[in-house]
Symmetry: C2
Subunit: 426 residues, 2 copies
């Protein structure tokens, strides 16, 4: 029996009852003979409440101080969880990110882990204790200031600690039963995926699947650390994310489908730069203006230029939250870049089909487009990677489009059993 | 212009408005040319709310984890305060007790400061920054675990930091205008004291005055650090606590009155051990039983024994919260100690008259007792130190007794001006 790292999100520890339920689950794992390290997020809406307080005292809260503030959230949940475990008769100690040796760079509010030195955690385990670690936080290597890893950072903390402690598995507990072939709120017949390879999970994460964040999966792939995503409200087996197909309990390997799933994302907007002179360097000027505003763009498409005018249009998608900033930057750069006008559209959705199997299965693209066409959905932009096809459609069409594609690729669940949800529904 | 340490209590930073008001006051001090270090408590009722959460998950929360939990409170207030200062255009950095170098012993929930190594605070000041430090918390020298100093610990943090940084003064901001000659809620004509010596302040603090805790004053006396207790809601000069009479702004020394004030305390109970054999070692057995339960007793009185029986009664007072535990310990020790019965009385009050002047002024005791007698108040126990006389009376008599003594010693304010109160009234 090896070491298990378990991560519990905010909805799993939203109140005293939740904390006690999680404590019992942790103790059960310990009783099974495992060494247990637990990474915990802040309770329920604590982080949002703290951000709200910060905005009340300062219109633009200073990064260092915002990190100091937000890390109070996990401090509360981890101490309560350790108490709850101790009151069940098992030894537990809580550790801040700094105490757990989570070393980061100095970029406040979205620091990156650069090293993990879990000496105190190892000591606690050697004494037979359960170690509870604050997710989402670390300490900067240079300034020794407290940092946070940004939203979803607790998952990354868990994977990084699991790698540093050479854990058997990193279990990510959440309020759904695992990773699904599509968002179950949109596709009633979405199926839980038993196993998915890192590369497919990475594509799903960057295409709008919310269960695991891209950064966490990337970290797991780099250290070849298996992730098991599962519900803290049920005892069900969830979704394994790893390099190699795990062995089924009844023998034989788990199969990965040709298509892992359909993801959608309605958080992006589309900018079209109209009437760009079709000559070398124009596109570079446009994207330099965007990059200088520290905006990440997603899809980019350039039309063939009209022979008569020598002008072309360039469209790209970006997070809706950055939309106005992007337009401002481009307007300012208009004289230098040279274009006619800008169009901004935030009524779009991105639908992505992901699966390593499409490498060796010609016809996937055709079947994808046929499914969309059959549902009467118009395609506005297309972009592909080796194992993913993404299209942009009208936002109004997204649910119908996802359902049509899900059915067309045989992903629908055969049973009519409702997906098991728990928690607060967030 | 030297270094000033300012401490703000929970009622001063109870909400965003309070935090912004305190931030403006800090910035004003900085603008006057001072280096400023600020010690801050948790916002309003945060600590009580966290204790309540702890009790929901664990009947007897583990000490180490309770400290980890409670220190989240100051983390929130200090980060918000630093943000608020920065949004006023001044540089501020917040530091946990551990980061500020507050080193303690390992007694969780009531640790004692054993060293202060404020290197990071000094660095922040040298860069021209305002340093905000979490009160009430430190880090244990041995285990490197987070500790708390117990209730009122933020005042001690402030004095300890002031001493370690060689500050000019430690300003303790609270919701009253200073130390008064009696509790203004009881005595409408109580006067604010302009200056009081450490020794008188120590006696007031151990006699029921809540403004400063004994431990904090003792620390200040040891390092000869002047304390200025004042309101965070007004600009008034408060009460100076120091060794030497400070110079008045208009020249000349401040005078200390013969009597500094009248304190009262209704948080104690009285235990009477009835029928104790009057022979050597009996009293020792009684107080060993109490001491072994880690209960601190206050006043002790033994009656002359009745010649006929050779038995005597021993009465003592102790914190009401420890009353039942004391009775249990004595009942268990009854066979060894040898006494007839126990009486327990929690309807008592202690009234104390404090003033270094009573050393050289005979007749103070007589005048004290005459005042009580004139008010029809019966005295049940008496105890004295060189500069304090305390009596125990019925709890019902306490307000009238305090007022009578306050008037008899000429402490009543001549003006009818109401005492300035601010804050939340707690």
């Amino acid at each position: 029996m090896g070491l298990v790292v378990q991560k519990y999100g905010g909805s799993s520890v939203a109140d005293a009852e939740g904390i006690k339920r999680v404590a019992r689950r942790i103790v059960d794992t310990k009783k099974d003979g495992h060494e247990v390290v637990v990474v915990v997020s802040a309770m329920g809406d604590t982080t949002d409440e703290l951000i709200d307080l910060a905005e009340q005292v300062s219109p633009i809260p200073a990064g260092r101080e915002l990190d100091m503030l937000l890390t109070a959230g996990e401090r509360i949940s981890m101490a309560l969880l350790a108490m709850a475990i101790k009151s069940l008769g098992h030894e537990a100690q809580s550790f801040t990110g700094s105490q757990a040796g989570v070393i980061t760079d100095s970029v406040h509010n979205k620091a990156r882990i650069i090293d993990v030195t879990p000496g105190r955690i190892r000591n606690a385990l050697d004494k037979g204790n359960i170690a509870i670690v604050a997710g989402f936080q670390g300490v900067s290597q240079d300034s020794k200031d407290i940092t946070t890893l940004g939203r979803g950072g607790s998952d990354t903390t868990a994977v990084a600690l699991a790698a540093a402690l050479d854990a058997e598995v990193c279990e990510i507990y959440t309020d759904v039963d695992g990773v699904f072939t599509a968002d179950p709120r949109v596709v009633k017949k979405a199926r839980k995926i038993d196993w998915i390879a890192y590369e497919d999970m990475l594509e799903l994460a960057s295409s709008g699947s919310k269960v695991l964040l891209h950064r966490c999966v990337e970290y797991a792939r780099r250290y070849n650390m298996p992730i098991h995503v599962r519900s803290s409200f049920s005892g069900h087996v969830g979704t394994w994310v790893s390099n190699e197909k795990p062995t089924k309990p009844e023998g034989g390997e788990m199969e990965q489908a040709i298509i892992s799933g359909v993801a959608h994302d309605t958080s992006e907007a589309k900018v079209t730069v109209v009437g760009v002179p079709d000559k070398p360097g124009e596109a570079a000027r446009i994207f330099r203006a965007i990059a200088d505003s520290e905006i990440n763009i997603d899809m980019v498409v350039q039309n063939v230029s009209a022979a008569a005018t020598g002008l072309t249009d360039i469209s790209f998608t970006l997070p809706m939250a950055d939309g106005h900033r992007a337009i401002d930057s481009l307007e300012k750069a208009k004289a230098v870049v040279g274009f006619e006008s800008l169009r901004y559209d935030d009524q779009i959705a991105k639908i992505s089909l992901v699966g390593a199997g499409m490498r060796s299965n010609p016809g996937v693209t055709a079947a994808f487009f046929e499914a969309l066409s059959g549902a009467g959905v118009n395609i506005e932009l297309i972009s592909t990677s080796e194992i993913r096809i993404s299209v942009v459609t009208r936002a109004d069409d997204v649910n119908e489009a996802v359902r049509a594609v899900h059915t067309a690729f045989g992903l629908d669940s055969e049973s009519d059993e409702a997906v098991v949800y728990g928690g607060t529904g967030r």
